[in-house]
């Protein structure tokens, strides 16, 4: 057990090192910060922003029902952040295995006394840590804005929203990692992951299109539904279970596909 943990740690550290040494990762982070910062400012201060709307309401004399601005803002912003992450996450996961295959380093991992699971877990933790790191400045933005807000922002909503973002990222990255393990083309991995994410994203629409019990069942698989629940501060253990299931599924399929790759490689 200790050996497995130390292996996971070794893979994790190497993976992190790769991200922090890679100009590509910084480019992704920069785009993410630029766009999320832009959304943040537009939603809050823009011409149609929340503050302007509140001001117009106040001028018109409407005070009922009272509006919880931080709450409103957070759910809108987190939803946008989720969509943005959906574009960026496939780019983070695309190289996880395809690069190793292309460079032949998978042969090193596969001939080392490390299980496929340990490699997959280490890699997922590494890329997830990188994602969490690039969301930290956004938490900083929120802290600045909410420190001045009245009524004060609910800490629970803030926490749940970000937990939701991380869980969704973990689910997307895990599935993306599996797709990356199927091909040695990084671009193909990104495209396929993106397609899968779109599918999971619009499961809601598909579900309501089908309707009935089947539709409802499919609807539960939707990433966006569970994520927006969490971002609105609604804690539902089924959301946690769903995200955890996606993560586990991704890890399981990755480990299996690397094993199968060994068996059929010519």
């Amino acid at each position: 057990m200790r050996i497995i943990l130390s292996n996971i740690l070794a893979i994790y550290r190497r993976e992190l090192q790769t991200y922090f040494a890679s100009p590509f990762a910084y480019a992704i982070a920069a785009i993410f910060w630029l766009l999320s910062g832009f959304f943040f400012v537009i939603i809050l201060l823009g011409p149609d922003g929340l503050l302007v709307q509140i001001g117009q309401r106040d001028q018109a004399g409407i005070t009922e029902p009272p509006i919880d601005v931080p709450y409103q803002f957070l759910s809108i912003f987190l939803n946008l952040l989720g969509s943005l992450a959906l574009f960026l996450l496939p780019m983070l996961s695309m190289g996880l295995y395809s690069e190793e295959r292309k460079r032949g380093t998978l042969e090193l991992l596969a001939t080392s006394p490390v299980t496929n699971w340990a490699v997959a877990v280490g890699k997922l933790l590494g890329v997830l840590t990188f994602f969490i790191t690039i969301t930290l400045p956004i938490v900083g933005l929120e802290a600045i804005a909410f420190s001045a807000s009245n009524p004060p922002a609910s800490f629970n909503v803030l926490l749940l929203g970000h937990l939701g973002l991380i869980l969704m990222a973990a689910a997307v990255l895990s599935l993306g990692m599996f797709i990356s393990s199927l091909t040695d083309s990084t671009i193909l991995a990104a495209i396929l992951t993106f397609a899968l994410m779109m599918l999971l994203w619009i499961t809601d629409l598909i579900a309501s299109g089908i309707g009935g019990a089947l539709g409802e069942a499919i609807g539960h698989l939707s990433l966006i539904k569970h994520y927006s629940d969490l971002s609105r501060g609604v804690f539902n253990s089924s959301s946690i279970v769903l995200f955890a299931s996606y993560v586990f599924l991704g890890l399981f399929l990755t480990a299996q596909s690397v094993e199968a790759f060994r068996f059929q490689r010519s």
Binding site: A10, Q17, R103, G104, A110, T111, S112
Partner: protein, 355 residues
């Protein structure tokens, strides 16, 4: 240390290796010699647990490579054909990573990495990013990663490919210095490499081991020593069988039969053939050969004794590849006069430099 029994591997319907059996004793260096695509890499991949065999067993240090894969992987250092390198890491950082995933205890890591770096002559490059290293240095980092955890068994897939002559000598010396404590299998298609580094050779062709022995014994047993090279004019086919039936002749083949071949250094006139005869051990049938050729009404233009090299063994054992690659003997012949030429030229040249 390594026992391989009846190992076979097929990709779909194509057999990559078929019924391979060999064993390597502790401390030996076994050279895997074979043309490209003979199954060397496949065999090595099976030994390292990277590929499963279709049938047969392979055991490393007493552990079955399939059943006990993790135990085997712990005891093996492996350098694949392309060195598996994380190019964004420094040499030292990469070796630390490999030491970690190979299960080197935390306390030993610094010493092991240091040893590997020293052995592979990487000291001045230890803090360099692998991305910035030349091919030769990358190959050495690949070697260092194979020995960093001090494994009892080291498997090297074409370790000297792409290196300059100086580096090749370094790598060969390194490999030789590893023998004794380590059991080594290396694959190559460079013939001198085998006689220089290996204590035993396994010649592998079309997925089968066609011979195993020490390099010297292989030459002795398989070809006996002498042979002749002839240039004759006339119908080669008519005389081939008669030559073949002479006492002491082991094999007869035309090595250069097409005078129109553009890559022949010295094109033969029409109806001329170059023939290579390989003798049985201890036989010297020169007189009979000449008599047979002349007696058959063919013209004999050249006849000379050839010393047998490992190359001949190899060519004989992998006959079809020999005919596909007729340059090899000629290239050697062409090399010979060159040193004499260059020796003559440098004298005035060095004189000029001195002045």
């Amino acid at each position: 240390m390594i026992e391989v029994e009846h190992l076979s591997k097929t990709y779909g319907a194509t057999p990559a290796i078929a019924d391979i059996t060999f064993s390597v004793e502790k401390g030996e260096i076994l050279g895997f010699l074979g043309p490209n695509g003979a199954g060397k890499t496949t065999t090595m991949r099976i030994l390292t647990g990277y590929l499963p065999a279709t049938s047969g067993t392979a055991r490393v240090a007493g552990f079955d490579v399939h059943e006990n894969s993790l135990a085997v992987r712990q005891r093996i250092g492996y350098l694949p054909e392309t060195p598996p390198l994380y190019t964004e890491m420094t040499v030292e950082g990469f070796l630390y990573f490999v030491a970690r995933i190979k299960g080197v205890a935390a306390g030993d890591r610094a010493a092991r990495v240091q040893t590997a770096i020293t052995r592979c002559n990487l000291i001045e490059k230890r803090h360099t990013l692998i991305r910035k290293l030349s091919k030769g240095f990358r190959q050495r980092v690949g070697l260092a990663q194979a020995i960093v955890h001090d494994p009892p068994v080291i498997i090297l897939d074409e370790p000297t490919v792409g290196l300059d002559p100086r580096q090749i000598i370094d790598v060969r010396n390194l490999i030789k210095s590893l023998a004794g404590d380590h059991t080594i299998i290396l694959s190559t298609h460079i013939l001198p490499e085998v006689s220089m580094t290996c204590s035993r050779v396994a010649i592998i062709n079309k997925g089968r081991v066609v011979a195993t022995n020490t390099p010297d014994r292989l030459m002795e047993e398989l070809t006996g020593g002498n042979g002749y090279e002839l240039e004759v004019e006339g119908d080669f086919a008519a005389v081939q069988e008669r030559l073949q039936n002479l006492a002491g002749v082991k094999s007869v083949e035309a090595i250069l039969s097409d005078p129109a071949k553009p890559n022949a250094a010295d094109p033969l006139p029409e109806h001329h053939f170059k023939i290579r005869l390989v003798s049985q051990p201890g036989a010297d049938e020169g007189r009979a050969i000449a008599a047979t050729v002349v007696g058959a009404g063919l013209g004999l233009f050249e006849m000379r004794r050839t010393a047998v090299t490992l190359e001949d063994v190899f060519l004989e054992l992998t006959m079809e590849d020999a005919s596909a690659d007729p340059d090899t003997p000629d290239a050697n012949d062409a090399d010979l006069p060159e040193p004499t030429n260059t020796q003559q030229i440098p004298e005035p040249a060095t004189g000029g430099e001195a002045a």
